[in-house]
């Protein structure tokens, strides 16, 4: 998927198997996120905050072999603050089976006003 070479098999989920569907791009990903009970994502900040804003349990998978690594800092910090779970591809199964979503802490959205006030003060505007 994406720039990778692996393409999963779609499955309708009969006989106790998990149903699998995939898409490379969806304009309505927000709807998919809203109806999800668990989200597993890469470590992009957009994906992370979009999911946290919807207060969905989130597992961020970090692949140290591939990426340039700066993305994992954010996932690790948020995991330490208990806003999401972090996993590597090898540990994903264990994370899913052992995770306790009750202990996740809701992420309160950030606020750009302190920066705006600082800028205004620096430029001599009244705040």
């Amino acid at each position: 998927m994406g720039r990778g070479s692996y393409i999963p098999m779609k499955s309708a989920g009969e006989d106790g198997f998990v149903s699998v569907d995939y898409f490379t791009f969806s304009p309505s990903i927000a709807d998919h996120l809203k109806s999800a009970s668990l989200v597993i994502s890469h470590a992009g900040s957009g994906s992370i905050f979009e999911t946290l804003r919807l207060r969905k349990p989130l597992i961020v998978v970090v692949n140290e072999d591939l990426m340039d690594n700066h993305q994992s800092e954010l996932a690790e910090e948020l995991a330490e603050r208990k806003h999401l779970f972090c996993a590597r591809p090898q540990t994903l199964f264990n994370t899913i089976s052992e995770m306790d979503t009750e202990n996740l802490v809701v992420y309160e959205p950030g606020d750009a006003s302190p920066v705006a006030r600082f800028i205004n003060r620096f430029l001599g505007f009244s705040t």
Partner: protein, 178 residues
Amino acid sequence: MIVLGSGGHTAEMINLLAVLQMDRFNPRYYVAAATDNMSLQKARVLESSLRDKDEVVGTSHFMQIYRSREVGQSFLTSIGTTLIALIHALWLMLRTRPQVILCNGPGTCIPLCMIAFLFKVFGITSSSIFYIESIARVRRLSLSGLLLYKLRMADQLFVQWPQLKKQYPRSNYVGRLM
């Protein structure tokens, strides 16, 4: 002048612009990399939402700049493209003469900040440069942030995590924007 990086960077910048009083920052020049298709579009959406609210908003302009370096580009060809980006930045700065420059990485903003800094040194135009490091930078500054910090080119550099403030004491910790 608002320099837009791609993707997550633009989202953070839009969050900041939404709480700034736009009548104080006018005219507004939005600059994005030539290969970035989404950022200027998001800026246009923001500007038209301001106009819809009937606020006194002034004028906005949308421009593109050549990227100094694409992801994975070889070092040798990067020298050439960086020079082109610098010349283009000079042209944009002469045209706009901004009093305020807002940027948050990635490298798109560096040629513009360098020219702005040189303009300040030679007394051509004085711009206040504000750099907001991305929320994804928790323990280390990005290359753009590091350059602006070490060379003291930014008037104020903002970080979103306390660990960075400890490491870079001249920065300002302002909490998260997202």
